[in-house]
């Protein structure tokens, strides 16, 4: 296939909120057109929920919906396989198995471009997947590898902020919003949480506003030995913000049934409680009614003001 005539679809879900722009520039530099799926909406949610197995978390289901929304407009759909982005750490099992889940959940044949990110066994796994992707897209393998090094390897290991300037405002009372970036920045899944807080006059801070290294150093009790990288961002951010003065409260937005959150939340909740910092855990699943969500949020804001 000739380069330039192919379009690769990038689903707006999961790691997109952290690394999407790097992947966009990866394909751009290879001369491949990309199309990012639209923001999560009820169609995407419904399609995802219907085709995905019931036991996964909501963001994975939504990711399936994003893929389905791209099948008609893209020749290939990019599904990264994030196995490990740093040292001996692993990504959430659902990110590791994402490509397989998609293969079996989506009956309609989806042509995917699959690239492994694996710092544990970097060379072999990753190179092999790049070789295959290069072959599929008709691009020189060595060219793709060098672009990969430039755009991806440089950037992925510290969960770099994608939305750092999305979260802004420094006049209101500071409040911290924690959660996976695919939860807190997805306006649909987060029920507009960040905007709601801004409307109430708060300055919102998220893990993306902190330097990756600082977060790692503060990610107690897992400093230097974190197993699931996916929780490190939140753990590190919580314990960094905790020691700053003037934080009026911490809100953790978690998808129902997130395994990693079930652990990190406990650590965070206990520590913040001891410190006397108000903490609210908000759990969302596929309900669209915002009443319960808003009740908890309003009560929390009443409490901390």
């Amino acid at each position: 296939m000739k380069t330039g005539s192919v379009t690769v679809g990038i689903p707006r879900g999961l790691i997109f909120y952290d690394h999407g722009r790097y992947w966009e520039s990866f394909f751009k530099r290879l001369g491949i057109k990309t199309i990012v799926s639209q923001k999560t909406n009820s169609f995407i949610l419904n399609d995802g929920v219907v085709c995905c197995t019931n036991e996964t978390c909501l963001p994975v289901k939504v990711f399936h919906g994003h893929i389905l929304s791209l099948t008609d407009v893209a020749d290939y759909i990019f599904v990264p396989r994030y196995l490990s982005v740093s040292g001996r750490e692993l990504c959430c099992p659902k990110l590791c198995g994402l490509a397989d889940m998609i293969k079996y959940n989506i009956e309609k044949q989806v042509k995917t471009i699959e690239i492994n990110i694996n710092t544990r066994h970097l060379k072999k796994d990753t190179c092999q997947s790049i070789r295959q992707a290069a072959e599929t897209l008709g691009i020189n393998y060595h060219k793709m590898l060098s672009v990969f090094k430039d755009t991806i390897v440089q950037n992925v290991s510290f969960g770099a902020p994608y939305h750092a300037n999305h979260v802004s405002g420094n006049t209101g009372r500071p409040i911290v919003v924690l959660g996976h970036s695919y939860m807190i920045y997805d306006e649909y899944l987060s029920m507009g949480l960040i905007q709601k807080l801004k409307n109430k006059g708060f300055s919102v801070f998220t893990p993306a506003n902190l330097n990756g290294y600082i977060k790692k150093m503060n990610a107690e009790p897992f400093v230097d030995k974190f197993f699931f990288n996916t929780g490190l961002e939140n753990l590190g951010a919580a314990f960094t913000y905790m020691n700053l003065s003037g934080i009026s409260g911490v809100i953790y937005l978690s998808p129902f049934a997130c395994g990693v959150d079930s652990l990190t939340l406990e650590f965070i909740e206990r520590k913040l409680f001891k410190k006397g910092i108000p903490f609210l855990k908000l759990t969302v699943d596929e309900h669209t009614g915002e009443a319960g969500f808003d009740t908890r949020l309003e009560a929390f804001l009443d409490m901390i003001v």
Binding site: G192, T283, A291, G292, M303
Partner: protein
């Protein structure tokens, strides 16, 4: 001599709709506890007419507060001065009755809450998450299944001699567990007592999560009428719990107190006559974008007075003109 000026509090909940009237000293004068039964608007309007009759013709309303899951709806229909979430409303009411309260336990129809206070200030709270197990609706349903009037449900539990163990984590599991126990010959009293204990266990596991329960503990919400649950709570806590006199309308009471605190003379109250109007709610599927929001439109005698449910705000702000339709 009785005061003729009142503040109203309305708690439009999933299972019950409560209306209270308090006087200027904050004393509760009238209360109504009605079943919402899936018809929030007509129950609310009926409640307003009843309260008007009870207060008499000379009554003047100086402020109205609404709370509960239907607080927004109630707020639009009656013209509220303050629309508050249930947690704040409950805490506000309880502080007024038991000033040194340490923990408030509230079990309502669809949700249960625990509120922790220190020196009269809320410092932590929890609500049940996505699941309604262990709430009033569940007990309601079990009472109906066993063909026992809900008012008598708790008394059965007190007559138990050896409560059976029921799985309390999930309402579906609990129900099948109860059926199994009943088919193996356990008495209904022991099963009901077991259910009460399971509910309380589930409540502490899900909401309190090992946090310190500060005393005094106040238990309120419709479920506080259930003596079986009260006994199970006292057994679990190893101490007495306080049940306020108006335990079943504390949310509405709190809303009334909040309205009294906020109101500075002028009120948005639309008057009791307003309750004679014909209100209708309809849902509209907006097709303006892929979000496909479900819009709720409230109309009074045919013309729309409020809309909500949209993510973008074009319906909510366009309530007065019909061009968006």
């Amino acid at each position: 001599m009785t005061s003729k000026e009142y503040y109203l509090g309305i708690d439009l909940g999933s299972v019950s709709t409560n209306v209270v009237a308090i006087d200027e000293k904050g004393d509760l004068k009238e209360k109504l506890y009605l079943r919402t039964g899936g018809k929030p608007i007509s129950v609310l309007l009926g409640g307003m007419r009843q309260i008007e009759k009870r207060l008499g013709s000379g009554a003047r309303i100086k402020g109205v507060g609404t709370t509960g899951s239907g607080r927004q709806l109630a707020g639009v229909i009656v013209g509220a001065d303050i629309v508050k979430n249930e947690i704040t409303a409950h805490a506000f009411a309880t502080k007024n009755v038991v000033p040194d309260v340490g923990t408030i336990m509230e079990i309502g129809g669809q949700d249960s809450k625990i509120i922790f206070l220190r020196n009269g200030v809320v410092y932590d709270f929890a609500m049940n998450t996505v699941c309604a197990a262990g709430t009033g609706s569940f007990i309601d349903r079990q009472a109906a299944r066993l063909d026992i009037p809900i008012e008598k449900f708790g008394e059965y539990a007190l007559r138990a001699d050896s409560p059976v163990r029921i799985a309390g984590r999930c309402a579906v599991f609990a129900e099948s567990d109860m059926i199994h126990k009943q088919q193996t010959g356990h008495s209904i009293e022991n099963i009901i007592a077991g259910l009460c204990e399971a509910l309380v266990r589930n409540y502490f596991n899900n909401l309190a999560k090992g946090k310190d329960i500060n005393h005094p503990v106040v238990f309120q919400g419709g479920v506080a009428a259930n003596v079986g649950i009260v006994a199970a709570f006292e057994k679990e806590l190893g101490s007495k719990i306080i049940i306020p006199e108006y335990f079943d309308v504390m949310g509405a009471y709190g809303a009334a107190l909040l309205a009294m605190e906020k109101s500075a003379g002028a009120t948005n109250f639309r008057g009791f006559k307003n309750a004679m109007c014909n209100y209708q709610a309809k849902s509209i599927d907006c097709g303006g974008c892929p979000n496909m929001c479900e819009i709720i439109e409230i109309s009074q005698n045919g013309s729309p007075v409020a809309r909500w449910g949209d993510r973008c705000g074009k319906w909510a702000t366009g309530a007065q003109n019909s061009e968006v339709v």
